[in-house]
């Protein structure tokens, strides 16, 4: 079979980028265009009105960024703590039983997020957790945990078990083996899973809207601007893109280091 030529590869990358990455760049001029009336292709006036309106005192975006960050961090931490033992146990099960557990643990991904959110409200109200960050985190966990579990699975397997056993045979306690041998070996996959979990929580709209009461969460605050004020929407969208861009940046650095 023919290997792709250099020029062919470049053309493919350019074509793919034109469809899947470059359109996002429109957010930058859109965020900085104070006046951009049709049919002009370039803005009539550049400025920071969007930033000022989004982050004005009394506007919710600042609090929303903080809330979204806290919830995403908390949810991801809990998801990792739950998914780590579950994932290790899962890969040791015989294939058939593994499949059954797999389906059970991934089933929440099939349910509409707004349904999960509105369904949980009654319980969260009873527990006094409605309209709190903890309540929002709990609702996010339904989505975050399955994704984190899926992302963790590549870390587990015979290699990791063998490493742990070697450490134990060498006299390390269970905890020490985990800290010194197992965790560092699994670190890249754990980091990937954590970043994915963060982004999944960070992007939630429907669940936050359903259980959050009026608590400002970034995508919920950004949502109405998408129709009412495209400039403010673009500013908030750029903030929303920060964690995904960090993930992409780290991923390309890691794959460069691995020579991939």
């Amino acid at each position: 079979m023919r290997e792709p030529t250099r020029r062919g590869a470049d053309a493919t990358t350019a074509a793919v980028a034109a469809v899947f990455a470059l359109p996002l760049l429109l957010l930058v001029p859109r965020a900085l265009a104070d006046v951009w009336r049709a049919p002009a292709v370039l803005p009539q006036q550049w400025g920071l009105r969007g930033v000022e309106a989004a982050f004005a005192p009394g506007a919710e975006a600042g609090t929303a960024v903080l809330n979204s960050t806290l919830v995403a961090l908390g949810t991801t931490a809990v998801a990792l703590a739950l998914a780590w033992p579950a994932g290790r146990a899962l890969v040791r099960l015989p294939a058939r039983r593994r499949a059954v557990w797999f389906v059970l643990l991934l089933a929440p991904l099939l349910v509409p997020t707004y349904a999960t959110g509105t369904g949980l409200v009654a319980w969260l109200l009873r527990l006094g957790l409605a309209d709190t960050l903890v309540g929002i985190g709990a609702a996010h966990l339904v989505q975050v945990l399955p994704y984190v579990l899926l992302a963790l699975l590549p870390a587990f397997g015979r290699d990791l078990d063998a490493l742990e056993e070697a450490a134990r045979v060498g006299g390390a306690s269970r905890l020490r083996a985990l800290a010194v041998v197992v965790a560092p070996a699994a670190a890249p996959v754990v980091a990937t899973a954590a970043l994915l979990g963060f982004v999944v929580s960070w992007s939630q709209v429907a669940t936050s809207l359903a259980v959050g009461g009026g608590l400002p969460m970034l995508p919920v605050v950004a949502l109405p601007f998408a129709r009412s004020d495209p400039q403010v929407a673009a500013v908030l969208d750029l903030v929303l893109l920060v964690p995904p861009l960090v993930v992409l940046g780290l991923r390309s650095r890691w794959s460069a280091r691995l020579g991939g």
């Binding site: 099960l93 643990l105 099939l110 509105t118 966990l141 969208d237 893109l241």
Partner: protein, 276 residues
Amino acid sequence: MMAREPGGRPPDAPADAARGLRELLPLLPATTVLAVLFGGAVTGALSRTDAATWRAALGDPRFWPALGFTLRVTVLATVLSAVLAVGLAALVRRRPRAAAVVGVPVLVPHLVAATVAAAWLGPGGLADRLLGDLAVELVRDRAGVGIVLVTTWKEAPFLTLLVLTAWDEGVRRREEAAATLGAGRWDRFRHAAWPAVRTPLAVGSLVVGAFVLGSFEVPLVVGPTSPPMLATLALQQTRVASLEGTAVAAVTLLVATALALLPAVAAARWARRADA
């Protein structure tokens, strides 16, 4: 509900049961948390509904158009994403840099994707200005083209990554072997690659289909006001200032949930039968 091992217990049950339990113990925290939250969500929704709310929900003049619209958009976006994913995977599988770029939309929040689409393709959007006048309505159109476009832009890359994971070195070697035997491009794909990628593609498509069925922010930004998707209809229903509104919305969402789970249940049964 706990999964029980199919086929019953072997003869030396006690020792095996103890080992089985030890094996399953680490799975319990995650499963319990999901079961409580997920089960809580479903029972929470069910507890709000009774015969009267079901009648009210199914009698809502917006319900049936929303259901039809949701199913149409879901099938269209899912099929389009799956077909595109195979094509994209074939295109980028030996080009790691292009593959990395295809992965970009996977991490982009749906809300951002929808807003960007509106800025490009909406009335007065940049495409409109560059081309003079877009001949077709792509955003907030009644046919739901905007929702299909945004969803496909987000989900085709997700499925592409799944397909690429399965289209590995082993498959490549089989393709090469087939090529030396004189197999053409289509035959190589059909006999070497397709058997390897179809399962992850099918499982991924189930997840994508379920996601589109419940999609919320995408139709709110680029969808028509009427007909709504099921999830956005539920939002409209909760905005009625009465408790009945949330109960009717619960019914709408239960219908959406059932529709999302149905293909997965069918697929699981089918896989079991194929297995046996």
